[in-house]
């Protein structure tokens, strides 16, 4: 029924997951930096972070992705000769996709982390400093472990959106699951079958993610009383 396309589509699923996880790492870095900037005392940093989150959340991911992929290509080919490279350089769609998705979802995670950081009473941080911990120590020992609990619900949401956004990298030519499903659909003339298969596999990824993140949430909420209606 699948004309032997199953292995190649499963390989594509690995690429989809790789794109998702790699972008997640970048998004986490941007998100933490953005949230720290938003909560910092420096006016300049606050403004920079505000511009970042507003602009990114106001423009579709596809447009940003095309901008970075095609725009980055011209930029590099424009700059490279000046730096002494004369051969044309191609941007790797994996790198372009990961950078774009990471950069975009960094803006969403900024808001997530900002909320989580604000949910921790300032007294705890002050107590840490009073014990003689340095600022990074306070962050690692006090803020971070509790942030995880506050951030997990909307982090789950963001991760699910990232997974679904990775489907867009097929548009800039990365051979992820979507791309391979398209190839199989074209070769077999059975697009419905192969796009349904892709849908099922995406659904599998989201379902497994939800189950894993729920257990993580339970783990990090040990010792916290839940309000019950």
């Amino acid at each position: 029924m699948l004309h032997g396309f199953m292995p190649t589509i499963l390989n594509g699923m690995v690429i989809t997951l790789a794109v998702g996880l790699a972008s997640l790492c970048i998004a986490l870095a941007f998100g933490l930096a953005g949230a720290s900037a938003k909560l910092s005392k420096s006016r300049g940093l606050q403004r920079l972070a505000a511009v970042y989150t507003t602009l990114i959340r106001g423009v579709p991911d596809l447009v940003l992705m095309l901008l970075i992929f095609y725009g980055g290509q011209t930029l590099i080919n424009h700059l490279a000769p000046k730096l002494g490279y004369n051969e044309p350089i191609d941007i790797n769609p994996f790198v372009a996709g990961v950078l774009t998705i990471g950069f975009i979802f960094g803006a969403y995670l900024t808001e997530t982390f900002r909320g989580a950081m604000m949910a921790i009473p300032a007294g705890q941080r002050e107590a840490g400093i009073a014990y003689g911990m340095s600022k990074p120590q306070v962050f690692l020992r006090i803020t971070l472990p509790q942030m995880v609990r506050f951030a997990l619900p909307s982090f789950q949401n963001n991760w699910l959106v990232i997974v679904k956004s990775t489907a867009l990298v097929s548009v800039i030519g990365l051979d992820d699951m979507m791309f391979r499903a398209g190839l199989a659909a074209g070769a077999s003339r059975e697009p419905f079958v192969f796009y349904t298969l892709a849908a099922i596999l995406y659904l599998a990824i989201t379902t497994v993610s939800i189950i894993l993140l729920r257990s993580l949430e339970k783990r990090f909420s040990i010792g916290v009383k839940m309000a019950k209606l």
Partner: protein
């Protein structure tokens, strides 16, 4: 920055804005019309009613909209009966396929949102209405829906903005929406920065208009819930 090329492409972008707005309005309207009854069913305490609706929303919310769009646009054409049916002229058009895929997608998200806001309704309000002698339908029409729809407004504004960004996928199935216009300009002039930045500015403007409109709506419909 090549400003001349941008100015020369302006008609392309204006048409793109129109297509984007038409797609967005159609999707949101159709999605909302279907989400309203589905949301009520989804909030039902009868699991036999709520579960099937949950299945629909779970599948749609768990898969990328690109897959849904491709299933409607490319997938349905696989079937002989589809190509011979009376609906085929509709499903052959990229516009109809994109609009229906977007409508289905936003319908699922809106259904969950409405169901959440219906379930969060204060039980006392409904009991009061019942004890005034209203029938279930009257309670729904007079008390539950006006209150739940209002409380869903802030999250619905997020959904509308996500949908605006989602309509950019229409350019992948050959439609000339805003993103399509930018891709067209890029292939004509090979000026990716100018092309996509211009589209970005247009999207940003549309986003701000939407945010502003919802802000006004919230002021109008939610003022009774404002902290005083």
């Amino acid at each position: 920055m090549n400003v001349d090329a941008i100015i020369e492409s302006m008609p392309l972008y204006f048409n793109g804005v129109l297509t984007t707005i038409k797609l967005l309005a159609t999707a949101l309207l159709v999605g909302l019309v279907f989400a309203l009854p589905l949301g009520i069913l989804r909030a039902s305490s009868n699991q036999w009613i709520a579960r099937p609706v949950w299945c629909f929303t779970y599948v749609i919310r768990g898969t990328p909209m690109l897959v849904q769009l491709f299933l409607v646009y490319y997938g349905l054409a696989q079937f002989e009966w589809m190509r011979e049916s009376a609906l085929w002229p509709w499903f052959r058009s990229a516009w109809f396929c994109a609009a229906s895929a977007f409508a289905i997608n936003t319908c699922a998200y809106t259904t969950e949102m409405l169901a959440g806001s219906i379930k969060a309704t204060n039980a006392g309000e409904l009991e009061a209405a019942r004890s005034m002698g209203m029938s279930r339908a009257t309670v729904l029409r007079r008390i539950l829906l006006p209150s739940a729809l209002r409380r869903a407004l802030p999250s619905y504004s997020n959904e509308a903005i996500m949908m605006l960004h989602g309509t950019s996928l229409a350019s992948i199935v050959t439609l000339m929406d805003l993103t399509g216009a930018a891709r067209e300009m890029n292939s004509r002039f090979y000026l990716p920065f100018e092309a996509f930045l211009t589209a970005g500015v247009f999207y940003l403007a549309l986003t701000f208009v939407l945010v502003g409109a919802f802000h006004i709506a919230e002021k109008r419909f939610l003022s009774h819930l404002k902290a005083r």
